[in-house]
């Protein structure tokens, strides 16, 4: 038994840009550019960031839906970075994924029972009839009726489909669930239902979550620790209270100040960042945030800051610290 359920070391994903007659590679989109973190058993690590920051690619690499360019992924003590075939299949029994779009994540031609039982059947965990029985139980676990197993996805609402997706992810008793924007497509009232369900299940099955989202409040609510990504880099990571009360990186500060709060009384001073996020195909030199940073210094333009621990377990990669 290792200390961490998941350990990610200096993970990178460069997507080649091809061009010309012979499809030569003329450059790379640096979607993820050296990310390291760990997830402990029973812990929820939240990853926040804006679109294109590489948070989803990170999640997909951990699930091996995308092959990393370099770095290491250690799942439950086992290096799965280059796992193939049966080895990869075995690793997938330890980690599962909940997807963003509840409409696209279920095969429209399979009943929900078949979808949930599928991992049990193809991995020969249970014979077919028992797998369906188990699917019924899982439906109950996620708050639907066992009798729903014979119905098809289009008969369910978005929130219900997301429950079905969660039930499928639970089927193999995984240790880790990667949730990629799992509640982003849902209305707030449904969103809170699913968040509560996820937190219930976590205690019930002692799960670890890697919870990827752009919604800062949602991530704070569900996570124990939170990492902030910008342009393929993890710029700050720490326990949620420490990170939300005392954000160290100017980007985290801007992000938190920009998130609208449903409250009229207390208003934070809003930091409005200028311009757009630079293209990951052509990232700036030095610190990736220096083009928009309100507190940019000369050193930021030249050297990439190293992560330093400022508070207990609270790391930041910024020249203002260290």
């Amino acid at each position: 038994m290792s200390e961490y359920v998941l350990e990610v070391q200096d993970l990178k994903k460069y997507f080649p840009i091809k061009s010309g007659l012979l499809k030569r590679t003329v450059g790379y989109v640096r979607a993820v550019d050296g990310v390291s973190f760990q997830v402990k058993p029973g812990e929820t690590l939240g990853i926040v960031g804006e679109s294109g920051c590489g948070k989803s690619t990170t999640g997909r690499m951990i699930m091996r839906l995308t092959t990393p360019t370099s770095g290491k992924i250690i799942l439950d003590g086992k290096d799965i970075t280059h796992a193939k075939g049966e080895e990869l299949r075995a690793s997938r029994r330890k980690s599962q994924m909940v997807f963003q779009d509840p409409y696209a994540s279920l095969n429209p031609r399979m009943s929900v029972g078949e979808s949930i039982a599928e991992p049990l059947i193809v991995n020969k965990v249970l014979p077919k009839s028992e797998a369906f029985e188990r699917a019924g139980e899982l439906l109950k676990t996620v708050g639907l009726r066992a009798s729903d197993i014979n119905r098809y996805p289009h008969e369910f609402s978005g929130g219900q489909r997301q429950r079905i997706g969660i039930a499928r992810a639970l089927a193999l008793n995984p240790k880790l669930i990667v949730a990629d924007e799992a509640v982003s497509a849902l209305d707030v009232s449904i969103q809170s239902q699913i968040l509560n369900l996820l937190m219930d299940l976590k205690h019930q099955f002692n799960l670890s979550y890697l919870f990827i989202s752009h919604n800062l409040a949602v991530v704070r609510h569900i996570s124990d620790r939170v990492g902030v990504m910008y342009l393929g880099h993890l710029v700050e990571i720490g326990p949620k209270h420490s990170l939300y009360q005392d954000p160290l990186h100017p980007y985290t500060q801007a992000l938190l100040s920009a998130a609208p709060e449903p409250r009229r009384t207390k208003r934070r001073e809003r930091i409005i960042l200028q311009g757009d996020v630079p293209s990951p195909a052509n990232p700036p030199s030095g610190c990736p945030f220096h083009t928009r940073c309100p507190r940019v210094m000369d050193v930021c333009r030249q050297t990439m800051p190293k992560p330093v621990q400022v508070h207990p377990d609270h790391w930041v990669a910024c020249h203002l610290h260290g």
Partner: protein, 321 residues
Amino acid sequence: MAEPLLAIRDLKTYFVSKQATVKAVDGIDIEVDRGQVVCIVGESGCGKSMTSLSIMRLVPRPYGKIVGGQILFDGRDLLQLSEREMADLRGSEIAMIFQEPMTALNPVLSIGTQISEVLVRHRGVPKREALDRAVEMLKFVGVPRAEQIVREYPHQLSGGMRQRVMIAMAMICEPKLLIADEPTTALDVTIQAQVLDLMKKMRRETNTSIILITHDLGVVADMADHVVVMYAGQVVESVDADTLFSEPKHPYTRALMESIPSLDEDKDVLYSIPGTVPSAANFPKGCRFAERCPIAKPSCFEKMPELREVAPGHWVRCDLV
């Protein structure tokens, strides 16, 4: 008190087909004063977008129909205007921006053409001059390199820039009313902050009234003077923004606020509204929220509550408050 710029009275917009009648908007009343920002908030399917399209009289044909009510704009009932008169108002007196700035711009026309054609159409400005004005407008909404951007096409811009272009297009004729339908939903948080900031600046400098449609109570808190909460095609609460956040009255409004996680407050379990919104093709006869309401009484299932004024300027559709 002066007469409001826009007064919607008992508006009903239905989708009528052979199979069913979907009551998307079912008798709503909303007033917007000059220079005011009114937010319409609600979850998907509550009828907030159809309300905005009804004001523009752009309800999708052939099924969508405005079946009743009045929309008084600047003293005139928009529902009585001819299609021609209505077209003269659109883009000139009432302008609109949409959620998806990518699909809302025509991919094959240059930014300059798309902005300037509004001026050409409504103000009779010659094309060249209209293009110059478009450049000015783009600068005003904070688009860098405006001289080049007018010659570029939507796909060459980022999401935030596209939404700025939409705003420039909407504001170029200085309309009295701007309807913004989820203008920042498709944008990232930091870009959303930029766009909301721009809308505030617009309002300050032109005194344009804004109807902002959103599902995000955070955006409401940031922008609104007055808030209208919609549920299942009806207005359930209507009050000034400060009161809404300090003393929400309708059980739905309260539930909505309780179900949102916070940025600086720990909540163990979020409140969650049980069940789902009733189908707009088949509303229950009593209160439409009764089924999901934590304080519902048997009478709630029997009789539809009226929207009543429980305190000065505070309207609630619930008999129990």
